[in-house]
Symmetry: C2
Subunit: 227 residues, 2 copies
């Protein structure tokens, strides 16, 4: 259970302040499937970074399972992140010196998963995302959409409690995008909370709860009517 | 007039060869409007990089206005690129230490355009793309779609003969994406050749000529029927 209360995130630039998030409040129950849409610059990535413990709010409170987290130090945040959250970044943030397979394997190694199991799980997700034949290539040797799929594989391989996906199909053709959404939804069906930022209405409307942002605020937060 | 003849682009990895472009032939007349679509990994960015003189083919010939260019050295290629080609990269390649306005201004400075004219032209294109209020921010202080628009502004400000746009709306909401396409099409209406790689069929079908790629080959190259 995630609770954001009156979250504010300001960026101070000289004598100007930009209110990237303004009074954002949001409860996310376990296993929910939420889409976040809104204009470029409206605060979607900023909100996802706050939820993902990658960015501290300027003001407001953030509870994960009733524990307030904004006052934790960086090491404590990193610990919660590593087990709780899987993040697909808008621009991937892959490790340049590691191959695709090594990038995907990294969270499992950090968690101490034995080698045989790591290899098998990596092979499995690369196959699902149709990039097995690129496994031993580094990010700069991959196409845009191949890098995006490596980022998705890495974020999902640990079975986190929450998956935050920032525009996960932006560099993919329609069919590959469909495979990605199918993978994310299959994980959500097993109880993982899924939050997808997207500019694609076709993807946005698949979620059961729709959030729209504008100028740092949530202007719409609706459950889809049943049926 | 651009002519690609039997272009091949291989990547050699140890004892494996990947044929990223296989026997690609293509004539592009001045002022054409072409879309290139195809699966992730099919060779679209590679083809655009070859057309844009950023990558040399492994084999084949490439004529620009009847001059064969594959045998030119890097300096000669850079000279042709700077006047002839505007490139919107799939991942932008903005200069991190420069602000948005400085990134856009850079080609004009390199071309020796006087300061007053540079400032006016930069202000104009930033206004068209609705990022005037982000002009003095560096790329890491911009959202994904804002960075994308800076890349588009930079590529178009020199009025090149050819604009190559690699997925120019991938990080943009529907409305901002429409503004980008409107800008690119207004330039094409003035005689600039426009080649857009896209995964968005709504954008792809706006071109007058549709190319589809698969596994490094052009499998379809059709002029839209009139009316
Ligand atoms: N430097 C490289 N070394 C080895 N292989 C490469 C390199 N760059 C690209 N490739 C491979 O060449 C193929 C074509 O890549 P390209 O980037 O042209 O695809 P694309 O059609 O633009 O895909 P996307 O829609 O995902 O952007 C891919 O399989 C890719 O992995
Ligand atoms: N480090 C920073 N410093 C200053 N301003 C920033 C910084 N990071 C983001 N911003 C600004 O905060 C606002 C929200 O950015 P954010 O990345 O959350 O937008 P977004 O909704 O994800 O947009 P897009 O759809 O283009 O990815 C933007 O106006 C952006 O320029
Ligand atoms: Mg974003
Ligand atoms: Mg590409």
């Amino acid at each position: 259970m995630i609770q954001l209360q009156h979250i504010q995130r300001d960026y101070v630039m000289g004598d100007q302040i930009l209110h990237a998030l303004q009074d954002v409040s949001l409860d996310i129950n376990d296993g929910e499937y939420i889409s976040i849409m809104g204009a470029s610059g409206s605060g979607k990535s900023t909100l996802l970074n706050v939820i993902g413990l990658l960015d501290r709010p300027t003001a407001g409170q953030y509870f994960i399972d009733n524990q307030e987290v904004t006052s934790l130090d960086d090491t404590q945040l990193a610990n919660i992140r590593s087990t709780y959250i899987g993040f697909v970044f808008q621009f991937f943030h892959l490790v340049p010196r590691l191959t695709a397979a090594e990038n995907v394997e990294l969270p499992l190694m950090l968690a101490g998963v034995p080698q045989a199991e790591r290899k098998q799980r990596v092979a499995e997700v690369l196959k699902t995302l149709e990039i097995s034949n690129r496994a031993h290539h580094k990010p700069q040797e991959l196409s845009g959409g191949q890098r995006q799929r490596v980022a998705i594989a890495r974020a999902t391989i640990m079975r986190p409690r929450v998956i935050l996906a920032d525009e996960p199909t932006g560099n993919l053709d329609h069919r590959s995008g469909g495979e990605v959404i199918a993978l994310l939804e299959s994980l959500q069906q097993k109880g993982i909370s899924l939050i997808v930022v997207t500019h694609d209405p076709e993807i946005g409307q698949r979620a059961t709860r729709h959030i729209t942002m504008l100028d740092g605020k949530i202007i719409k937060d609706e459950l889809e009517s049943a049926g």
